[in-house]
């Protein structure tokens, strides 16, 4: 799985692994891929610094990257408290009532909850970037829109490539014009924020739209056969997120959530605005169902929804309220049926890729 991109980065496989867990990101880089740590859940820059420090010592000298969420446009209200004030009372009531219906306990006094995806507030993302650029990261990815020009310049000065996720050719073109070095074509079947176009159609469309900028195929990729498919579509590499959630290194604090992921089929996800205000694929749960119900006030736009549900999600996770417990994950959750090490996943990816290539070559040879 070598391409000019993997050679440029000095890695063995053009397999980029996105994960919120430093131990997983480090293991991906050690296994020959390229680990990308998702920074969106870090509120305290000190915590991010500590984790990047740790990664630096655990990637075996191999390169790694960081993923931030930074909207190109500024929100009107700039601080978290100002944004909080925009949330309607009816929405707060709906959250309270839904939690009460499932008997979700309150957090202990003084605990605001760890689950705060507020990284897309520009002030938070910029504080994260200050930390990121204190470390020798080789890639900065932006999960939402093109990064601002000064961030791209700063990354390039730092010697890092800049990647941006796109769900349409139009967005991809904007990223390329902004100066991004890589575009991640994120298909409908992906976990997290996705558009409507499936990977099979989106990848070649974006490859054509941004050439010669290299493209990573994302969405629906969790096996070597799917990697071969993504590369056949013209990608220079693949971007995998979901598959790492059930690795040993992920050590999901919640055994109940791991069990739900292992049991889920490909049809058990939903693309819902309940998590962040923008459509994001996630495990379908009683929580997403409640937001889809006609009685729901409907999700708020980003960034309000993320702030609205932050404490609720912390409570659901802390007390492992099974019916409500979810996570962003793609349709490949259907094939996540055992807990394995990152290295074991990589071995399987490599073997599957080679199997797929041999298979395809037989189909050509028969024709000779």
């Amino acid at each position: 799985m070598r391409t000019s991109l993997s050679e440029q980065l000095g890695i063995e496989h053009a397999v980029f692994g996105f994960t919120p867990f430093p131990a997983v990101a480090a293991a991906i880089s050690r296994a020959g891929g390229f680990g990308v740590l998702g920074a969106v859940r870090y509120r305290a820059p000190g915590r991010l610094a500590r984790d990047l420090e740790w990664m630096q010592g655990h990637t075996g000298g191999m390169p790694y990257g960081v993923d931030v969420v930074m909207p190109a446009r500024r929100a009107e209200a700039a601080t978290e408290d100002e944004v909080e004030a925009l949330i309607p009372a009816a929405h707060r009531r709906f959250v309270r009532e839904t939690l009460a219906r499932y008997g979700v306990p309150e957090l202990p006094e003084g605990d605001r909850g760890s689950w705060r995806i507020t990284g897309w507030l520009e002030e938070v993302a910029r504080a994260q970037l200050d930390v990121v650029f204190d470390h020798p990261v080789r890639l900065v990815a932006n999960a939402l829109g093109s990064p601002p020009a000064d961030v791209i310049e700063r990354a390039h000065t730092h010697g890092a490539l800049v990647a941006a996720l796109a769900g349409s050719a139009r967005h991809a073109r904007r990223h390329a014009e902004a100066g991004c070095d890589l575009v991640v074509a994120q298909g409908y079947e992906a976990g997290g924020h996705t558009g409507e176009i499936a990977t099979m159609v989106l990848t070649p469309e974006i490859v054509q739209a941004v050439a010669p900028v290299p493209v990573l195929a994302a969405g629906g990729i969790g096996s070597g056969e799917q990697i071969a498919a993504g590369l056949a579509l013209g990608a220079e590499g693949v971007w995998l997120g979901s598959i790492w959630l059930t690795t040993e290194e992920a050590g999901l604090r919640s055994a109940a959530l791991t069990a739900k992921l292992l049991a889920a089929g490909s049809g058990d996800t939903v693309r819902s605005r309940a998590l962040t205000g923008k459509p994001a694929r996630q495990l379908r749960t009683a929580w997403t169902d409640a937001w889809d119900d006609p009685a729901s006030p409907g999700p708020l736009p980003m960034p309000l929804q993320g702030l609205l549900v932050a404490e609720a999600l912390s409570r659901i996770q802390r007390y492992e309220v099974t019916e409500l417990l979810g996570t962003p994950v793609g349709q490949i959750v259907g094939r996540m049926d055992s807990v394995r090490s990152v290295a074991a996943v990589f071995d399987e990816l490599t073997a599957g890729f080679e199997r797929a290539v041999r298979r395809i070559n037989r189909m050509v040879e028969r024709g000779c």
Copy 2:
């Protein structure tokens, strides 16, 4: 693009082309693929017989198939008139008002319209099958569920393979257990009836679910690169429907519809129940928007919706009312940007497939 399946059928490429146009189906078989004529729009068995007769003389001796729509479960009301009687007045009014809003003229006296997709009424489908089995068809595909046991037996006696479309591993397993020889894994991005799982995820899932029954990948496939991707995912062949709509042989009677297809991007389709009562991907139009509007009474279940809208769609097509004019088509409509012959499409598919295989092989060789 040779697989054991193409060798079994004696065709050059494991590329199955579904189309409602006999001239396209024949051209696909002549070009080295396997043409499959969609029978669902034929009301009069005599017309179907005439077209199969014609195909027999125009496939250059190569094999071809027919696609019928036959629900495994019988509807309560068996005849078209009995089903018509179940349609609520409010729905008829909504159709009348929507047509009036766009000034769609009435059909001439005595003309019931050609656009009647009533083939899924069992009596209609069975009459079609009587005609089909008068001809040396090599494949009978069922676009909706497993065919009844007696139809499978009849096909096998006739020397024809039986295929069935599936949007989930559960449906695919049911088809295999019923005795189908082939399963078409139809992903979310496909034109026509589709489920929620994208081709990238669905194909390997169905391959695993029904092995050793061969699987055709469908949905999002309109280029040689996409064929390579489908085959890398474990399919023994691919099933393409949309790409033929803008071929010279299709001779879509409506120039306005051809123009809309050529102009449409991958984001210009919608998965809507407005056409048949089950979710089917189609061009997004003012007609599908009207059915998605809060003011709409909502589509009826199959087969009521198809009967409800049949005359309306005939009128829209006959008078080429551009805003309302649509057709089932997949997300690959974005790459349909010129009118070409079926043979030219095939040349491009072959070249793209070879390009993709060479590309993948370079990625392996670099690793050696």
